[in-house]
């Protein structure tokens, strides 16, 4: 659908209750993302500011370009996007880290899933707004590479920050390597999960979102 012509907005009364609830869930999660980013800005937490701005841009771009708040991303994706940020700023999560052995791994997985989600949204939105074209295998490969690479750059960024400010947020080599292992595992899982997710998504939802089907438009029917 091109901007300008035929932006037909369905009146609210014609939307099904599920559609409205799903959209509301997505808006609420995006608010979490937004306020977490504001919090990161206030604390000058540079890496998380970058993460928040990237995630919010990818969230808001389809809404703005199609001028329709119902083009919001699926709520499950928005939750995946905002979860690691909420975990990062939450004091409760910090306390759990000290008392629950697997909590660190849990946050690492949440982080990996959100990076993979950003990677996936990049494959979709690059095709919507630029001349980039990918097919399914390449998109899956890109999601995996993107997740692992950003996790790597992230650790380097944390390391540089530690060096500059004399802190040691990173912990030991094993701590960092575990995060990277989880990012690799999470990226692998989500790369293929998003492939299945697109195939499994019902056509009506695909239409409402008007967004996801662009991941290899031509032959999604054949799968």
């Amino acid at each position: 659908m091109m901007a300008g012509e035929g932006i037909s907005r369905t009146p609210l009364s014609q939307r099904s209750p599920e559609q409205i609830i799903e959209a509301e869930l997505s808006w609420i999660s995006s608010m979490v993302l937004f306020f977490s980013t504001v919090y990161a800005v206030l604390k000058l937490d540079i890496l998380w500011i970058a993460f928040g701005i990237a995630a919010i841009s990818l969230y808001i771009l389809p809404i703005i370009s199609m001028r329709d708040p119902f083009r919001a991303l699926p709520w499950e994706m928005t939750i995946l996007l905002s979860a690691p940020m909420l975990l990062h700023i939450s004091e409760g999560s910090r306390a759990l880290m000290q008392h629950v052995a697997w909590w660190n791994d849990f946050t690492s997985v949440a982080f990996a899933f959100s990076l993979a989600t950003i990677g996936f949204l990049l494959t979709v939105e690059l095709q919507m707004y630029t001349s980039v074209k990918m097919n399914r295998p390449f998109a899956v490969f890109f999601v995996i590479m993107f997740t692992v690479a950003v996790a790597g750059f992230w650790q380097v960024g944390e390391f540089v920050g530690d060096q500059i400010s004399g802190t040691s947020h990173l912990g030991t080599n094993a701590d960092v390597m575990k995060i990277l292992v989880w990012s690799f595992a999470g990226g692998m899982i989500m790369g293929f999960v998003y492939d299945l997710y697109i195939r499994a998504m019902s056509e009506s939802r695909r239409k409402t979102l008007g967004l996801i089907h662009l991941w290899e438009v031509t032959d999604w029917r054949r799968s």
């Binding site: 980039v132 990918m134 097919n135 590479m145 690479a149 380097v156 990173l170 030991t172 390597m177 292992v181």
Partner: protein, 214 residues
Amino acid sequence: MEEKLKLISRGMQAGMVGIAVAGVVTGNLTWVPAALISLFFAEIPSLLRRDMHLVLPLEINLWIVLALFLHVASGFSGFYDHVPGWDHITHMMSASLIGALGFVVVVTIDKYVDSIYLPRPFLAFFVVTFTMAMGVMWEIMEYGNDALTGSHLQYSLADTMYDLLFDGFAGIVVAIVGAQYLTRVTPEHFVESLNVEGTKRRIGVLGKRRSARP
């Protein structure tokens, strides 16, 4: 120019043979397997050319031999142990090599797969991503190796982080050089110079030969 580059490659290969021989003669066997494996790797571009008709750019061939030679030579001569930071330099060389090979593959895919179109800025972005991801996987491999066999491939957090830092740096350099290169040479010309068509035909011939067997 071409002859000169080839001569340099040959010189470095001779150096690796020398290291293997010297290692055996002096009984200092630590670096002999690495030298032999590196000699084999250094021959792979020639094998690809002979058997698959695939022509890698001369610069990449030289880079392959240089990275292997520096690794073996600095291990054998004790450079790794005595010059601080030297391992990061060789690490960056191999990272840039992986990045360059990734670049070659992605440009070829871009040209040959109709459902894929990657404009130059995205290509550069992808090369950085790919190089960094490969670097992270390398570190994961080292970490796993250390955990399973008790080896000491990773010295410290700082060492690992500097490796990753240099991986990222190498990726960015290769992306810039690659993007610059494609402003001078079109992707079509580049892929043509690799003789991918010839390789495709060669694979077709090999496939037919196999299926013709009783």
